[in-house]
């Protein structure tokens, strides 16, 4: 009896966090702004939170996780600026066919950056949703 090969999917949050931390930190005016999978402690004035909220397995190796990118800042304007910068970085990653150093065949936009304050803290927040096409690798 043959045993099916294990195909391990990359963690989409890790890849997007790496891509955004690198991309955002290189932009003038955004130095030191970091992305992560959770709200940092202590809470910085500006940060990006990446969340995985489902998605689809398209084939044995190809998957399209749905990822939410949340940009937090002190004001709606600053949150929007950070959100749109993240949006540009996400689209560029799709065109470069690489997300956080892993193959990425496409980045689809579910929802553009929009104003949605954090309901817990009322902090300004811009959120956008993406479908990131990734490949699993044989274990």
């Amino acid at each position: 009896m043959s045993v099916a090969e294990l195909i391990i999917a990359p963690d989409p949050v890790d890849l997007v966090v790496t891509e955004l931390t690198t991309g955002v930190g290189q932009r003038p005016g955004f130095e030191g702004v970091r992305a992560g999978g959770s709200v940092p402690i202590p809470r910085p004035r500006r940060f990006v939170r990446v969340r995985s909220v489902g998605g689809a397995q398209n084939s044995v190796v190809h998957l399209t996780p749905t990822v939410v990118v949340e940009a937090y800042a002190d004001t709606d304007g600053d949150a929007a600026a950070l959100g749109w910068l993240c949006h540009a970085i996400m689209l560029a990653a799709g065109r470069n066919l690489s997300m956080g150093g892993s193959p990425c065949s496409d980045v689809g936009v579910f929802a553009l950056p929009q104003d949605l304050p954090d309901p817990t803290t009322d902090q300004a927040r811009s959120t956008a949703t993406y479908a990131v096409s990734l490949r699993g690798v044989a274990a």
Partner: protein, 84 residues
Amino acid sequence: MPSTVRIEITPGAITEILKSPEVQADLRARAERIAAAAGDSEDYEVDSRVGATRARASVRTASYAAMKDEAKNRTLTRALDAGR
């Protein structure tokens, strides 16, 4: 010898399909699955309609609790996969 395949699309036929009762029913069923996966029926509202070029269906939060849950936990966004 290679054969030639010729495809002719009747003007308006695609729009007719996109607005057909079958497509409307499929979209409505998908939206209802998403709403059911998101939570209680009183918290999410399903709507379907036929537009100028296609049928559409939508799910939206119908209570403050559901709106807050979406803003905090992405509950409705996470339920989208139920509509695939």
